[in-house]
């Protein structure tokens, strides 16, 4: 008896196997063909989220958990306002202005006339009211959308006054509502979405808005997503962008964002390892790299005269970020709950050495947890004498030892601090970008007698945020235009017991600090009454040694000038030069095509 498989001969069976193999490769045929665009008209960028593939390539709804506008939506959607932090400029975009009532419980926003969505529908008050009401309702109910809880905390109701006027009634006086919620800066703020698309969607938290063939996602911005696969997202310029219409910009006419941007196509690739990005920059395939630390940047600049940075081809090779870094304490950890121990640790840390090793010397010590942005200069200056008085950045191992001895510790046989026969021990964790600082800090502490170990683990986020750590190297991401956002980082509203995930992981509480923060929240930006409140609050912060400040954080971003020029620079800081911030469209508006 000869076995036959379903009546097939051996040859037929082989043919069937080969046919199946060919069929298996057919999903590739599902991608649409793209028009070709010349390289010199194309801007190639490297974008977060980091990894070998985009985790968000299929998610084109800005409010979905998992959606990340940085690689696509920030070129498609536009906000009511932008804040350009390096030039301290508030830029009305889809709005033209706003007016608060006397007690800051209501703000009326005027929308720009002549703005249209990509499908030709007019952008108006209905879209804005829909977006904010949708978020408010979600924040008060299902709570499964990004931005929803923040909007629900602040907003009582958004109401259409007329086609181009919206009134936002607030739950409590909030002079920062426009800058904090209606304005896009860094990775904050709300992008309005089209009511005529979203109002028919039942589950917005699961809505991907990814029907690219049908022209989705629909935005008001000058770019349209034309293709998205895990390894690539491509956007083409819409030449019918509303902003290129004469007369729509009024007084703002002439600013570099009022013309059609010059790149006809944007190709974004996932931000992966530095070597890959550097190689692509050198081979002129990539125009805008996401980030390059000094050890990558210096050889890159020496090999490629066509590469530049925000500070030109000179150190520090970039611009400061809103993420000044510190050694944070877990105030619920027994090891560091005593402020005297924290003070002793502070004296044991040589932040200058960390800067020397980690930033190759190209960063500055900080005297407060606020970045040295232009808008914050007055507050940072006011805090300098307080920091000096508290010897904030002082490295003094002898003083550290004196404090430890004063509170009853003595060194054991191996030279580590012990009390009642028990050695003091602590574990340090770090955010991924600061991982290489961890061993330096741990060694500095060990040399001063603190038995600290640095632990590197893939689940560091969960460990830190659930409070199962003693110390952590991290950054702030608070104040941009005003100290309030940094003060709010330390508000006890964020306190959660160990075991629960806390949005702010340091678990420090201070009633007076809370009161001062709440007072600042009531005052308008720039009010002279803010400065003494800030000074008092950060005096408490320094008295309690809430953390050990280390340094400013720099974004070091290489730009290629082969195809594109006029990148933001110290001389012309027209926009933050960071692709990982939602203001990157402002940079693209400013780029100029080179002569080749």
């Amino acid at each position: 008896m000869v076995l036959k498989l379903g009546g097939l001969t051996r040859r037929q069976f082989t043919n069937l196997c080969l046919g199946t193999l060919v069929m298996a490769s057919l999903p590739l045929a599902g991608v649409q063909a793209l028009d070709s665009v010349a390289r010199e008209d194309t801007l190639v960028t490297e974008s977060p989220p980091a990894g070998t593939t985009f985790t968000n390539y299929n998610t084109l709804n800005p409010f979905v958990v998992g959606g990340d506008p940085r690689s696509h939506l920030q070129f498609v959607l536009e906000p009511l306002f932008y804040w350009s932090n390096l030039s301290a400029e508030h830029i009305p975009f889809l709005a033209t202005g706003y007016e608060f009532n006397d007690d800051y419980t209501s703000v009326t926003v005027t929308l720009r006339e002549g703005v249209t969505w990509a499908d030709g529908e007019a952008f108006d008050a209905d879209d804005v009211v829909f977006t904010f009401e949708m978020l408010r309702e979600n924040g008060e109910g299902a709570k499964d959308l990004v931005n929803a809880q923040e909007v629900a905390t602040a907003l009582e109701k958004a109401t259409k006054v007329d086609a181009h006027t919206v009134r936002f009634d607030l739950k409590h006086p909030d002079p920062r509502f426009v800058l904090g919620t209606l304005t896009v800066t860094f990775n904050k703020g709300v992008f309005p979405v089209p009511q005529h698309v979203y109002n028919s969607v039942e589950d917005i938290a699961g809505f991907q808005d990814n029907d690219i063939a049908a022209g989705h996602p629909i935005g008001t911005g000058p770019y349209q997503v034309v293709a998205a696969v895990p390894e690539r997202i491509i956007l083409d310029r819409r030449d019918d962008w509303w902003g290129a219409t004469e007369g729509v910009w009024g007084d703002q006419e002439g600013a570099n964002y009022t013309d059609l941007p010059q790149p006809k196509r944007i190709i974004t690739i996932p931000r992966n390892d530095y070597q890959q990005g550097a190689q692509a920059m050198l081979s002129q395939q990539l125009d805008w790299m996401a980030e390059a630390p000094v050890p990558i940047m210096e050889p890159l600049l020496s090999q490629a005269p066509f590469i530049t940075t925000y500070s030109d081809r000179e150190p520090p090779y970039g611009n400061i970020d809103w993420w000044p870094t510190s050694l944070f304490f877990n105030h619920d950890s027994e090891a560091v709950s005593d402020p005297e121990i924290r003070r002793a640790i502070s004296y044991a840390i040589n932040a200058e050495q960390v800067i020397e090793v980690f930033h190759q010397g190209y960063a500055e010590l900080i005297s407060s947890p606020m970045p040295d942005f232009e808008a914050l200069g007055v507050y940072n200056e006011a805090l300098e004498p307080v920091a000096k008085e508290h010897e904030l950045n002082a490295f003094d191992p002898e003083k550290s030892a004196e404090i430890m001895t004063g509170i009853g510790y003595e060194k054991d046989g191996e030279g580590f601090w012990s009390k009642d026969g028990e050695r003091w021990t602590a574990r340090i964790f770090a955010a991924q970008p600061l991982e290489t600082q961890g061993p330096i800090i741990a060694e500095q502490l060990r040399r001063a007698g603190f038995d600290a170990t640095f632990t590197r683990t893939p689940d560091y986020r969960q460990i830190i945020f659930s409070g199962n750590f003693d110390m952590a190297l991290w950054g702030h991401g608070g104040a941009i235009y005003d100290p309030y956002e940094t003060m709010f980082l330390y508000h006890s509203d964020f306190y959660r017991p160990v075991g629960e995930i806390a949005t702010r992981f340091w678990r420090w509480k201070n009633e007076r600090f809370d009161e001062l923060t709440e007072k600042v929240a009531q005052l308008p930006i720039g009010d002279p009454k803010i400065e003494p409140l800030v000074k008092e609050a950060f005096t408490i912060w320094m008295d309690e040694v809430v953390e050990v400040p280390i340094s400013e954080w720099y974004h070091r971003i290489p730009f290629s000038t082969v195809y594109w020029s006029n990148w933001p620079s110290v001389e012309d800081p027209y926009a933050p030069p960071t692709i990982s911030h939602w203001t990157a469209l402002l940079v693209i508006h400013g780029l100029e095509k080179t002569e080749g």
């Binding site: 193999l21 298996a24 958990v65 709570k143 499964d144």
Partner: protein, 335 residues
């Protein structure tokens, strides 16, 4: 009828293997202390995104993913999802469905690994058979041991060496990726050639590292087969060496190779995880690597389940194919 009984028994074994492996697949990722939803939300807040109170958002999303249910119910949910071939949403790629992620990665892996495995199998088997065959060209005796040395090297290590030499030092091949930065997937010659160009180094690392193992195994079998009476008999009958080599030697020696090939093909769906990682190749191996890194349970379940089913089906296929290759095993023939 006897054949149908054998088939039924084999299918029963297949079901038992799949259910056991699927159960392990459910349990093992859960042993890790990491909460993937919490990590995802914290990562978002880390970039500055306004996620509000993470703890309350965590509860909402754990409920969405069914992770707030008792573990036994989660297990039954999981089995149900396997039966319906719907593993729901990925945690790290939310709200993209697991099936969409696997489907977009599968062509890359099949294209690379199927071709590389078949080339390595054919080359290795032929080389192994020839090395053991006394009438084979002499140069093979010199070349083959060198190739066998490569069998001792893991794919990914060889991959790193190839990247260093061919991409970093000599700039002959690209460093990483499935295609060039300026290319985009589509059915056109430019893209096909670009993909082939990018697949050469990873394929070469797989072929070089595995051809030696295939050759070693085949050589051992050929040596055994050559001592058999039927080989002597075929020679005594004056059959041509080529016929004796292929029809009497290789055909009898190849059976264990086929079993191994079936197992290898079964693993293709998983990709060569480390090779894809080293070359940043956008296949299923890379998807699995990232899913494990982020404890993305549902993607791990999906990819591993496909491997389990593929291996089990490959074994079934081998069981069914053996009789075609070896007349002695044909069901009922002995009777």
């Amino acid at each position: 009828m006897l054949w149908l009984g054998t088939l039924a028994r084999r299918i029963l074994v297949l079901v038992a293997v799949v259910v056991t492996a699927a159960t392990l697949n459910f349990v093992l990722p859960k042993l890790a202390p990491k909460n993937p939803v919490a990590s995802k939300l914290i990562e978002m807040s880390e970039t500055g995104a306004s996620v509000g109170d993470i703890e309350s958002l965590l509860k909402v999303y754990e409920a969405k993913f069914g992770l707030d249910r008792p573990i036994v119910l989660q297990y039954f949910d999981y089995l149900g999802s396997l039966f319906t071939f719907d593993l729901g949403y990925s945690i790290s790629f939310y709200p993209t469905r697991v099936a969409d992620l696997i489907l977009s990665a599968l062509p890359w892996t099949i294209g690379l690994l199927f071709t590389a495995t078949i080339i390595a199998f054919l080359l290795g088997t032929l080389l192994g058979a020839l090395v053991a065959w006394e009438k084979a060209p002499k140069f093979l005796q010199v070349v083959t041991p060198g190739i066998m040395v490569l069998a001792a090297l893991p794919y990914y290590l060889l991959g790193l060496v190839l990247i260093y030499l061919f991409a970093f030092v000599w700039h002959v091949f690209p460093l990483q990726g499935g295609y060039s930065i300026l290319a985009f997937p589509g059915w056109n010659w430019g893209f096909v050639l670009d993909v082939l160009y990018h697949s050469l180094l990873p394929a070469l690392s797989i072929v070089l590292a595995s051809v030696g193992s295939w050759a070693l195994a085949m050589r051992g079998m050929m040596v055994t087969v050559q001592g058999e009476d039927y080989m002597l008999y075929s020679e005594a009958n004056g059959l041509r060496p080529r016929r004796r080599f292929l029809h009497y030697g290789v055909r009898n020696a190849i059976l264990p190779q086929m079993t191994a090939l079936a197992l290898q093909l079964g693993h293709i769906a998983a990709g060569a995880v480390l090779v894809e990682r080293v070359f940043l190749y956008p296949g299923v191996g890379m998807l699995l690597f990232r899913a494990i890194e982020r404890s993305d349970y549902f993607v791990i379940y999906g990819v591993v389940f496909i491997i389990v089913v593929m291996v089990a089906l490959s074994m079934l296929l081998v069981d069914l194919l053996y009789p075609l290759l070896d007349p002695r095993i044909r069901t009922g023939a002995a009777a």
